[in-house]
Amino acid sequence: MRWRLRGGRGPAGDPDAELDAALFETWQAAAAAVGKMIDLPAGKEALLANSGLGQEDAADLPPRAGLTRQVARRRAVRPTGAVAAALAAGVLVLVAVVVPNARHGATREPTVNAAYVVKRVDHALSAAEPGEIAQMTVTTTLGPVIGGKPAGTRSENWSFGGQWRSVMYSPAGHPAYDEGSGTALPYNLVSYLTRTWARQRGLGHPAEAVPGPRSCRSVITALPQLFQLGLLGAGFAPRSLPVTVAGALRAAVSCKSLTVAGRQRVDGIAAIKLTSPPNASISETIWVSPGTYLPVRVVVRAAPGQPVVLTAEISWLPPTAQNLAMLTVPIPAGFRQVPLARAVTSILQRFPQPNAVAGHPPG
């Protein structure tokens, strides 16, 4: 098809000039289109704020009429609803009501920055999902503090694409059980408590991806799945099987009215601290790396009076052969293979599961 030049710069009939004009015109139109697709005001605010210029020199910037209204409008259309998550021991049901943060309308800067940071975190998680291994150490503090030492559990988790693995440790720090699975992979469970292991096909396939970041219903599943609460082999319904850590984090980030609460050092980096509103039933604090915008730590606290704290330290690893090996559940030499139900029962006696579907141990 012959190119039809519209409004070119060069003389008609000069192919070089026509080509230049076509390229020039297209480039300008595409740049204008990109300008409509990205949030320039929020990006500029964040750039200046991160550089330290935004605070004292903000008066230099020409006021942008309508920015506050735009942000308020974006906030207003966010879904508001009740979010329930059974978090631990079947005892605690937390109901998080996402309410518009009254402070958002008061000051412009934190609102814009929070929206921008959340957007960048969402994009970073979206980009990380297919290509990086999420490694988490989850510490759960449960119940009253006894003798100055809180009761709790610790687990290590890895998630990559449709594959995941979780190692639960005993209070003494020894591995208690190790489970893992993935798409087209059998579910493997190793019990260090009884020196047994079990394998079953058809379990442990990841659930449907957590719905898009705009769906706050996903938080219902996001938090328990993020923290891998419960032994999968104890009978999770197929639709509640773990999704990727990045997917769960996306849902958790996007469904809260998070605000930027400054910076704190996490593992040597000045991480951006995002916190949920003070009146939220679940207190959620997320620290994200200022370089990659990927979460590096997540702390979820229950409502006052509910001493449950879930802390996840998150690393993002390249899928090297060594790192990919961490997704595989090793079967130690000398361990005996048993039916899955038997392996599960022995674990449940020591580690009661909060989310197990009663009466349906597989196998």
């Binding site: 070089d16 080509l19 595409a30 750039l47």
Partner: protein
């Protein structure tokens, strides 16, 4: 024959003597969409990933703004390298069943495609379909950089830049149905 986006005269090569938020803000608003487009077309990243790369490049640039001799060129160079690193990481780490021989930039950015006229979409598609080196030279050229700057950014000789642009223009003219010989 050089192409340019009209930004050269006002920004390229101009060093801001002191960091001024109004200047920086104006520079950001003017350059950010162009830089995102540049990254999208030259590397094939989608618009949102390209925006992340561009924002990170701006943050790096701002931290050393007073020391930069040519902030705009530095900005584009940093964004270009960061985008290539991301592309390489994704390509290396995510095995795919069928490797596409050409990046289809517009199919990855339907919102961008929707803003363009049919003939502009065609130009963008052909631009994105050029071989990598030709595409990079053309995007640097369209972004308003001169041969020496492109050569420095892409670690090529200026002759190689001219040659790549010549072939790129010839390819584009051919694909667009223009009978141009493709000037350098």
């Amino acid at each position: 024959m050089l192409l340019g986006d009209g930004a050269r005269s006002s920004v390229v090569g101009v060093k801001l003597e002191r960091v001024n938020t109004a200047d920086i803000g104006a520079f950001y608003e003017r350059e950010m969409p162009r830089l995102v487009l540049f990254v999208t077309i030259s590397t094939g990243l989608d618009v949102h990933a390209a925006a992340d790369v561009a924002q990170a490049a701006f943050e790096k640039a701002l931290s050393r703004w007073p020391t930069l001799r040519n902030p705009r060129a530095w900005l584009y160079r940093v964004a270009h390298h960061e985008a290539l690193a991301r592309c390489e990481a994704v390509r290396r780490e995510v095995p795919v069943g069928v490797v596409p021989d050409r990046a289809d930039h517009l199919s990855a950015a339907p919102a961008l495609a929707a803003e363009l006229r049919a003939e502009q979409r065609e130009v963008m598609a052909h631009l994105g379909g050029l071989p990598p080196k030709q595409r990079q030279v053309m995007t640097w050229t369209l972004a308003g950089f001169g041969d020496a700057e492109i050569a420095a950014a892409l670690e090529l000789s200026t002759d190689a830049v001219k040659q790549s642009r010549y072939y790129a223009r010839r390819n584009l003219a051919k694909r667009l149905g223009l009978a141009g010989r493709g000037s350098r």
